[in-house]
Amino acid sequence: MVAIAIARQTVREALRRRVFWIFLIVAVFLIGLGPVLGFLTPKESQTIMRSLGLAVILLAGLFITIVTCIYLIPVEIERRTIYTVLSKPVQRYEFVLGKFLGGFAIVFLSVAAMGAVFLALIYFQTTTVGPDQGLLRWIVSGKVPMEMVKGVVLTFFQMMLLAALTIFFSTFATPVLNFFMSFGIFMVGNLSSVTESLTTSRNGLTRTVGTIIHYMLPNFGNFNIQNAIIRPTTEITNERVFIFNNIVYAIVYSAVLLILAVIIFDRREV
C-alpha cells in the first residue's frame, strides 16, 4: 500500500510536468497528420498512416518514459524530500517499487491515450459513419483492427521494460548519464535481429559478445512486429504464443531490473 501511495504521488508530479504534456500533444498532433497522405493509393496511404502512427507512439512513448523516469529518484534526492519519505515507516524497496509503479502508470496513460487517438483515426479513415455505424458499434462488432491493437500493446510492454531499465539506472547514475545509457541500451536492444545473427558467428569472440548482448541485455527488438502487422496479408504462425512470450519476457526482465535497483538503492547513501 505504501508503494501505491508513492506511485500515486509520482503520477501526480509527472502530470504536473509540462514536458510530458508537450510530448503527448505533439505525438497526438503527428498521429493526426496521417490522413494528409491521402494523395497515395488508398492501400499505400493506409499502410503508411498505420506505420507512422505506430512509430509516433513508440517515439513519443520512448521520450516520455525516459524523460519521466530518469528524474523520479534523483529529484527526490536532490530536493531532499527523500529524507522525509524514508524517515517514515517506508522501506527503500517500497520507495523504488512505488516510483516504478508511478512511472509505469504514466507510460500506460500516455501509450493508451496515443493508442486511442490512433485507433479512432483508423476508424474515421476506414468507416463511413452513418446512423447505424458508430464508434461503439465498430468496437462491439469486432471490426477494430486487432493487428494495430497488438502493436500498441507490445509498444506498451516495451516501454514498461524501458521504464524499469531507467529506474534501475536512476538508482546510481545522474539523469544525464541515465538518459544516454537508457537510450543507448534501447538502441542496442532494438538490433535484436543483428545480435541474434551474431550468436552463430564463426568468429569465437564475436559469437561470445553477441551471445552475451543478445541474451543478457534487454531485448527491445522483440517487440518490433510492426512490419508484419501493418501488412494485412502477412500470416504469422504462433503469433499469440509469440506475443505471450514477449509479455512474459518484459515482466520477468522488468522484475529483475527492479530487484537489482532495490539492491543498489539499499546500499546507496542518500
Binding site: 506505420s51 512509430a55 518490433n224 501488412r231 496479408t233 519476457y249 520477468v252 539499499d266
Partner: protein
C-alpha cells in the same frame, strides 16, 4: 590508515542475500524466454536486410526510425519521397529508393510491383522504346518479392504479367501464374476462400492459348466458370462477377470455335463454310486446291542509312496487322542479374539491346531505327552484333492466327532457311490438324518429332551478324551477313 568496512543494517544484508539469487534466476529465465522468442521472431523479419546494410543508403532523417525498429515507417516515408520523384519525372532517383525500401520492408508488395514496372517500362530512348537492359533486373526484383512474400498473389501475378506482356515468355508466364493460383488462401485476403483473384485463372487460360495449348486453356476457362458461378450464387447481383462470368463463357466458346475452324475440315458453320482447315486453306485464287500452309515469302532488308541508324524493312506476304519483331543486340548479349548491393539496378553501359516490332501493311514493312540519339542506351562498344528479324505467330492478332494457327502450323516460306522450328519441347502446342494422317502431326510432308507435345512452334526468323564498322556505316550490310545460326 586502516580499511573501513561499511556496515549495512541486517535486514538490508538479508534482503540482498535473498534477492540477488532471485535476480540471477530471473536473468536466466529471461534468457530462456529469449531463446523461445527467437525462432518465432525470425518470421517477423523475413527477407529484411540487416540494418547495417540498409542504413548505408539512408539519409539522417530516415535513419532513426529503422534504428528504433520502425523499418516499415522509414520505408513508408521513402515511398512518399519516391512518389514525389515520379511526379517530377526524376526516374533515376527512384531506383536506389526502391532498393532501399524493399530492404527495409520486404513485404512492401506495391513497391516491388511499381518498382519492377518502372524498371521494365519507363526507361526509354528518344523513340519511346524501352531500355531492355532493365528487364532482367526488373524480373529479379519481382522474383525477390515473390520469395519474400509467398502468401501474396499480386507480386507473382505481376511477374507473370511482365513475362506475358513485355517479354512474351509464355512458358515463364505460365509458371508464375500457376504459382499465383496456388497461393494458399488467406482469411484476411479479399479473395478468400481462394488464394488469388479470378483474373489469374483468366490470364493463365490466355497464356495457354498463346502457347497453342487449347485443351489446357479450356480447362482453366472451365475452372473460372465454376468459380464465378459459385460466387454468383453468393452474390447474384455482383456486376463485376457477372461480367467476368460472361467473358469466361464467351472465351470458352470462342476457343472451341477457333479450334474447329482452324484445325478441322468438318463442323464449320455458315460463317466459315470452307471444306478445309483454315490453317491449310489453299491460297485464294489459286487453281491448285491442295490444302497447304501459307507462303509468307519473307524478304528481309537491313541497311545502315547513317552511323547507328538502321533502316529495317522488307516483304511479308500476309494480311495487314502482322508484326515483324526486330532485335538488335551485342552478338553475345547476356541478361544482367541483380545482386544485393545498393546500386544493383544499374545496367552495363557497354551492353546494347533494342527490341521493337514493325507492322506489315500491304505486304511491306519498314522503319528507321535511330540508335544514334541515345549513346548511353546503345553504346555499340562490342565488335559484333546480332540483328534478328522474326515473325512469331504466337504474338500475332486473332485474324492472322486463323490462317497461321497457334503454333504456326499454317505458316511456310518459299525460302526454307527462313523457317525456324523451335526445338524446345516446352514450346510445342497441343493441336493436331485433322486429315493430316497418322497419330503424329505431319507438316509439309514431314513428321514432327514431338509426339507428346503436338506441334512445335514454327516461326519465321532471319539472323544477321554484323560488325561495328557496319553499324558505323563504314561498310554496307548485305545478304552475305545472314547467318544460319538461329
Amino acid at each position: 590508515m586502516a580499511n573501513v568496512t561499511k556496515k549495512y543494517p541486517a535486514n538490508t544484508q538479508r534482503r540482498r542475500m535473498t534477492m540477488l539469487p532471485i535476480a540471477l534466476v530471473g536473468l536466466v529465465l529471461a534468457a530462456f524466454m529469449q531463446g523461445r522468442i527467437d525462432p518465432d521472431a525470425k518470421q517477423f523479419h523475413e527477407g529484411e536486410i540487416g540494418i547495417s546494410g540498409a542504413a548505408g543508403g539512408l539519409n539522417n532523417e530516415f535513419l532513426l526510425l529503422p534504428l528504433l525498429g520502425f523499418r516499415q515507417a522509414a520505408a513508408g516515408l521513402l515511398w512518399v519521397r519516391c512518389d514525389e520523384f515520379f511526379h517530377s519525372g526524376d526516374y533515376d532517383a527512384i531506383l536506389p529508393l526502391v532498393r532501399l525500401i524493399t530492404w527495409l520492408d520486404p513485404h512492401a508488395d506495391n513497391v516491388y510491383i511499381t518498382g519492377a514496372w518502372h524498371l521494365a517500362y519507363n526507361f526509354t530512348d528518344a523513340s519511346e522504346r524501352s531500355d531492355r537492359r532493365y528487364v532482367a533486373p526488373s524480373q529479379s526484383l519481382l522474383e525477390e518479392g515473390v520469395a519474400n512474400n509467398m502468401d501474396i498473389p499480386d507480386i507473382k501475378f505481376e511477374l507473370g504479367w511482365q513475362r506475358y506482356d513485355k517479354i512474351k515468355d509464355f512458358i515463364g508466364a505460365e509458371e508464375a501464374f500457376k504459382k499465383t493460383v496456388e497461393t494458399k488462401p488467406n482469411s484476411k485476403g479479399d479473395d478468400f476462400p481462394y488464394g488469388a483473384p479470378l483474373k489469374t485463372l483468366h490470364i493463365l487460360a490466355h497464356t495457354y492459348e498463346k502457347q497453342g495449348r487449347i485443351p489446357e486453356a479450356l480447362i482453366e476457362w472451365q475452372k473460372a466458370l465454376d468459380r464465378s458461378a459459385e460466387m454468383l450464387k453468393r452474390k447474384p447481383d455482383d456486376y463485376s462477377t457477372k461480367s467476368l462470368h460472361e467473358a469466361e463463357r464467351r472465351n470458352y466458346a470462342e476457343n472451341l470455335q477457333r479450334v474447329r475452324n482452324r484445325y478441322s475440315a468438318t463442323g464449320h458453320d455458315s460463317v466459315n463454310p470452307s471444306p478445309y482447315p483454315e490453317v491449310l486453306e489453299p491460297p485464294p485464287g489459286s487453281a491448285d486446291k491442295t490444302p497447304r500452309p501459307w507462303d509468307v515469302a519473307f524478304v528481309p532488308e537491313v541497311q545502315i542509312v547513317r552511323p547507328r541508324v538502321f533502316k529495317i524493312g522488307g516483304q511479308f506476304n500476309s494480311q495487314d496487322g502482322a508484326r515483324i519483331d526486330v532485335r538488335i543486340t551485342d552478338w553475345d548479349y547476356q541478361d544482367h542479374k541483380i545482386t544485393r548491393t545498393l546500386n544493383d539496378f544499374s545496367v552495363d553501359p557497354a551492353q546494347t539491346i533494342l527490341m521493337d516490332s514493325i507492322s506489315v501493311r500491304k505486304n511491306r514493312f519498314e522503319r528507321e531505327m535511330d540508335m544514334s540519339k541515345d549513346p548511353k542506351m546503345y553504346s555499340f562498344s562490342q565488335p559484333t552484333y546480332r540483328v534478328v528479324l522474326s515473325y512469331n505467330p504466337r504474338n500475332t492478332a486473332p485474324h492472322l492466327l486463323d490462317r497461321f494457327g497457334w503454333s504456326g502450323e499454317g505458316l511456310t516460306d518459299v525460302d526454307k532457311s527462313h523457317l525456324y522450328m523451335n526445338p524446345d519441347p516446352d514450346l510445342a502446342g497441343t493441336t493436331y490438324i485433322e486429315g493430316q494422317g497418322g497419330k503424329l502431326p505431319v507438316w509439309d510432308g514431314q513428321t514432327i518429332p514431338f509426339p507428346n507435345h503436338g506441334q512445335p512452334l514454327r516461326m519465321i526468323r532471319v539472323t544477321y551478324k554484323i560488325t561495328r564498322e557496319q553499324v558505323l556505316n563504314q561498310k554496307p550490310i548485305t545478304e552475305k551477313d545472314i547467318v544460319s545460326v538461329q
